[in-house]
Symmetry: D2
Subunit: 464 residues, 4 copies
């Protein structure tokens, strides 16, 4: 999962791209990067860590030019993370190309193997780099054409921003799995994963980049193209459940309102005999508010989140029980003791975290704990850009709702139904991807695309 | 404002002190430090930045010993911040002494001038160092005695932890301005500014260190002493309004419950003709919940806070209006538009931030904005440890409530009354310090203690 | 100019490669890198700065495996230095390939342009990368064959080490411009630019890698191949004049002895009416010793070199005359005053440094300054790996010996003759490259190979 | 051993002090520091490492003011090195005081214990800090008077520079153990350990600061005072043997000329039946030149020193014999093989290094190795500022010359006689300290001044 942002035609392109990324940081804190184009050079700055830590004034000052794109990357396990940081920038016969990518291709390894046999040299294990090699192999006077050729070969999920000598180009796969919106800031154009980035910049949301659309922004002009392949839209409903910021508008709906509606629907579908409704912060906040309103039970902020949790937390030598959860969440005994708690969370993955939270709430004196989940059971891994674990690790893939209840040690458990969830969204039910709940993958995964990690034979470190 | 933590008699003293500080980070993110005692050496680690950034495993590993104290320091303007980081550790004829201090002395400059004339050499401009010099000048076989002599000379607010070859010593000034609690973790003792640090460690709260009390913790034993001077208690009510974490118990009350009660009381005292109740996060959350309940108006999380704001944020070259507030808070237009918003905040200092928020909410489409404040007007600076601006800068010191309303551009404004606020606390009204609202300072400030900053003639930098 | 080192079949391959580079540091202090192969991964560590600064124990510990190659790089002006640091390591269909290169190709830009048109993506502006792309385009089961194909296309000067899954491969261009020797250390093989690296490791010199030879070292076995193209040898005589360490054996001759002989020959060819012979350290030391012996004039160390000169020296705000030279060299007035000084240096490039030294010696009280140069006038730029300035900047390309004398302000000036210099070497005169003195370039430079710097359109920075 | 430098009344005081230190770096590379005075603040910059690494332009830019002092410190074993870095700067009732010190007090521990009992708090274990505490305890309107009182209590070796609000003050102990010279640079005054610092700045040497003299430099004026205690001069002859730079003038003599004379004298006193004279660089260079001239044997630079040896060299996992010496020195087999080598070094301490060098030369093919030492046998530790090992470790304290010869494995060994050595110096023989050769300590060491290290009970680390 990642956040991407681009801007074209602005005097402070790098400064505004930095801010745009900043507002998208909830989508990725592992690494971040920006590249700008000054008409002659691409200027690239990228590193491990959060946007706010990486970019200081002298760094931004080096990013000359009136257009820029940026990327905030989510942590995925494994080595070589550094080399895979984005933007990726390469020199080609068409001039330099820079790209940022949110999503996941499903046939990149097959293409990569072919290109390597033909003598291409890859710098990373990233699926994104395949697109650049396909473009380099198919140079055209019009870089949009070269991109169209490349995209005609790749499959899967992609919301892309490409910085070139011929302007900023945005592209979204035919299914439109991941979000991408277009905005206007004075005479400049901008593109972002979510509208909250526009709010910070005081830019105006213009439209979605449509599924299957390629948009070229150049010298203040906008040109729209369509990919030849067409497909039914398949927007990721999980963006609403968990990933997006509540103050964003995603696929035309307010995330906060969708989440509140899900909580209210959940209260109707799965009522609970409780005294208070308590959210697991932060993603449970809006569903809990909806649940509280629909059920009439009071809303209590009885789990407090520590917002200062650093990336490299040190566990004590002498173990503290349930420490990993406790360091992030503290139950307030004075609000909980003696009460029947309806605990609202957005989803259950492996079940182990939920069990720790249920235990912690019970130890804080709750008489009963009723766990309510504002989405259906997560039963299938995502191949389109969300870093879910394998099927074996997903508790709902293997266990019944009653077994899960027993595992989490809750007194009762209730999930929102799939129909209930889709009913909270304004689009047609079939226009959303529901693969993680139903396994109905709309883009198949190529056989070469084995589940195991592509191992790069080079382990490298660069130092100042 | 600062957070302090100490532990005595634990195999992983440094690891647990680090965690204790971690839970107290909301009290100070500018610098942090830990010192441990291994029976022979004090081991000091300290630096600029947050606890979670500063302490990595190899750093903690250097902090040998079974007792440790730590300090998280709040940002105060000005130079020499590095040299003033705590703990302060010095070598004396009684052996090494380490100290951490939450509070503010009111006569340290007079004492300091005298000691300098007598040949003492100070390393910092910190008031805390004065206590160590007074101890060094009055050595005793029993270090508690030496401390009692030193404390008999100083005036003001202090919650202190002292690490010595004779155990961990906690002390609180006779008025008990700042909190300090004592806890038990197996055979070990611990001390903290707030109980939330005990929750993380799964330690048990035992008692407050009483105003005017000195407690020595040594080899698992606890000895309590009283300072000769006695004074009426004068606990800082602002800890409840703003500073403490909501899941802490402060001066015997649950912070979350006190804040919710303040919000409810405010709804009764200052009702508003609104459609929704919106908190300014995070300190407005609980008062808004109380206001919503007492008024029957729906609670809406319509201002979203960006939790990734780093310490060194870069403003764009091309200015964005109200940027400083906007980067932290984003109003959700979809929740606000067309509504009459009752906006809940904990206090107004200069008024400029409130005005920016009111404007931002109005621009997001609010029909009316009714500002409600869950404490009385802040009219006087604090001399006891909170970093408030001078009287001239406090808007309520100069302007009437109606002028403040006009300044903030709200449609209406209402503060909680002082009696109302004190009524939400379980202690007797006269047992709280109300100097910031009424100017009734219970400890006078020495004339030498001029308001201007003590300038240290040495500006230094150390590098690896 | 660069130093390269490789080792195959050693338990501490990275540790010994580090030491080998260490002994070759005089050949390049701008950047350094090592790559090791553990049978599965290439481990790369590389950075800006000197070997001794970059490689600490934990860094070396990451370089697993029994074979390794390394590179110490000389500072050349311009941007993108970081990206051009070596080793270069890439993933190909034949497995990972790592390369280090001393020398300079003369037709790489023509090849590069062709490969880019065909879709290859280059990571650097380095000529070395061209060889890797040629190999990737021509994969063979036997990697030596792939290398032979690649080398059949490139022209110019190269002493190469290649680390592959099929062993360590050393190659030297048909002319053998730059040195490369093969050594034995127990059962391990090693390769180095100069023999001084073997001395430090207590390895034994076995033979030169011959001009036009490719040597594969694998599992303790050595296989020798010859490039199809053959050419007369053309060894760089400037290695003896300036570049190599005096304790190395280069092209079969002792550098110290050659330099001493050059000084003696110079004394015969260009005697001087002086009182003392003073070397410009360090490269003038041995010629001065030879001059002193042949002339009978006493040798005096009257110019002291400051060996602590860092890479980033700060000039004072208030200028000091001839500061750039003075900070490195200090004339000892007590040894110089009143004497006629015969000053020995190895060469004159632009003439400005020589003038500063002559002035400095004169200001220190020298009665006369007779400048003697232990090589012929440098009149042509090097295209084979030495970073000489353009023809316009070489003073001897434009001015007569007498004009140069006047420019340097010396009382007399004398260069060693070309025949004199070649007479000090044991090889046949025609077996040395003399292009910098005579302009007789044996490998022409391709027209695309314009003198101006290849500008890479990407300026990048990576940070931790 | 340390280098100190000061400047008063210069527009670029910090820049020139940095350069002065730079020229004195051979006296200490472990840590360095500068402090400047701008009339209001002392600006201190200090850190571990060499001058050239520590001071970058922005660092120097922070050092405002027209006067500055600096210190380069030699590595001495043990902890707390960081806290002991100089300059030491403190705030006193007389204003801020900064000090740098070359030398070693012999009664500081007795004074320190007394001051600690009286309540003084020390920041370091450095003897230098005692002087500042004595001044703080004895404030005077005229800071020179306060210094005179302080110096009347301390004993031992000190060349001091003090930066104060009343100018730059230089002081030298009555015996004048360590050097200190006064220079003039336009209207500014400067002070340095050695004249080579003046050469770099193009300053002019004016005079020594005499033994027992205090010199105040203020507003361009110079005032000279004498300490009441008088004592016979006792200049450190080892400065000439080893420590000073050859191009300096020390105690009125040229170091290079003294060393050359020592070598010549050594050739007369201890001739050797050899073929070539080979110096151990760098300190053996000048004595070897003298020996070569007096003996008529040719001078050969057959041991090459690697000047890139970093501070933290990594030994290979698989040991290399005599590695510690080999990494610094490489014998040139082509110059040595088959010859009888007369090897010249300045002194023998433990004998182990000499043995390694003799072995290395013999392995390089020397037929015989005759070791000649240009100073008498070192038999006693220095208490006046040179970091010699204890008596037990000095080989000449325990063994006869013949045993030492056997230990070093040389074919013959010869030291310069004490009379011979003193005969090379222009001062009266009794005006030099000869304690390290004869044990005739002119200032006794106080009994409290135990040989073991003063252990500070605080181990600290500061990080950014």
């Amino acid at each position: 999962m990642c956040g991407i942002f681009g801007i074209e035609g602005h005097d402070d392109a790098a400064g505004f791209a930095y801010l745009g990324l900043y507002a998208l940081q909830h989508r990725g804190q592992e690494s971040a990067g920006l590249v700008s184009w000054d008409g002659e050079h691409m200027h690239l700055e990228r590193g491990m860590g959060q946007v706010a830590e990486l970019f200081r004034r002298p760094v931004l000052a080096r990013l000359a030019g009136r257009s820029a794109i940026g990327h905030a990357r989510y942590s995925t396990a494994g080595s070589s993370v550094r080399a895979n940081a984005q933007p990726i920038v390469v020199a080609t016969a068409m001039g330099p190309l820079a790209v940022v990518h949110n999503g996941n291709l499903t046939n990149d390894r097959r293409i990569r193997a072919r290109l390597e046999r033909e003598g291409s040299i890859f710098q990373t294990t990233s699926d994104t780099e395949v697109i650049l090699h396909l473009m380099a192999r198919n140079p055209r006077a019009d870089v949009v054409e070269s991109l169209m050729v490349a995209l005609s070969e790749v499959e899967g999920a992609y919301s892309l921003l490409l910085l070139t000598a011929q302007g900023l180009i945005a592209a979204r796969d035919p299914h439109g799995f991941r979000p991408l919106v277009l905005g206007r800031l004075g005479d400049a154009w901008c593109c972002a994963s979510e509208t909250c980035a526009f709010d910070l910049l005081r830019a105006e949301r213009v439209a979605e980049v449509e599924p299957g659309e390629v948009v070229q922004l150049r010298d203040g002009e906008l040109r729209r193209y369509r990919l030849p392949a067409s497909a039914p839209p398949s927007r990721c409903a999980f963006e609403h459940v968990y990933f997006s910021r509540p103050d964003s508008e995603i696929f035309g709906d307010s995330v906060a309102q969708v989440r509140t509606a899900m909580g209210a629907r959940l209260a109707c579908e799965r009522p609970a005999d409780g005294d208070i409704v308590v959210p697991v912060p932060d993603s449970g906040l809006f569903p809990a508010l909806g649940y509280s309103r629909a059920s009439g039970l009071p809303f209590e902020l009885a789990l407090i989140r520590n917002h200062y949790v650093g990336r490299t937390f040190i566990e004590p030598r002498q173990a503290i029980r349930d420490f990993g959860v406790r360091v992030k969440l503290n139950p307030d005994r004075r609000l909980i003791a003696g009460r029947r708690v309806v605990l609202i969370d957005d989803s259950i993955v492996r079940g182990t975290t939920s069990r720790k939270i249920v235990r912690m709430v019970r130890e804080a004196g709750a008489r009963e704990v009723h766990l309510r989940i504002s989405s259906p059971p997560t039963r299938w891994p995502c191949h389109y850009g969300i870093d879910t674990p394998s099927r074996e690790e997903l508790i709902a893939a293997r266990q019944s709702e009653d077994d899960i209840r027993a595992f989490t040690e809750a007194d009762s458990l209730g999930y929102l139904s799939l129909d209930g969830m889709l009913g909270c969204l304004s689009g047609a039910p079939e226009s959303y991807c529901t693969a993680c709940w139903r396994g109905d993958y709309r883009v198949p995964v190529s056989p070469e695309q084995s589940r195991q990690r592509l191992l790069f034979p080079i382990v490298s470190e660069e130092r100042e």
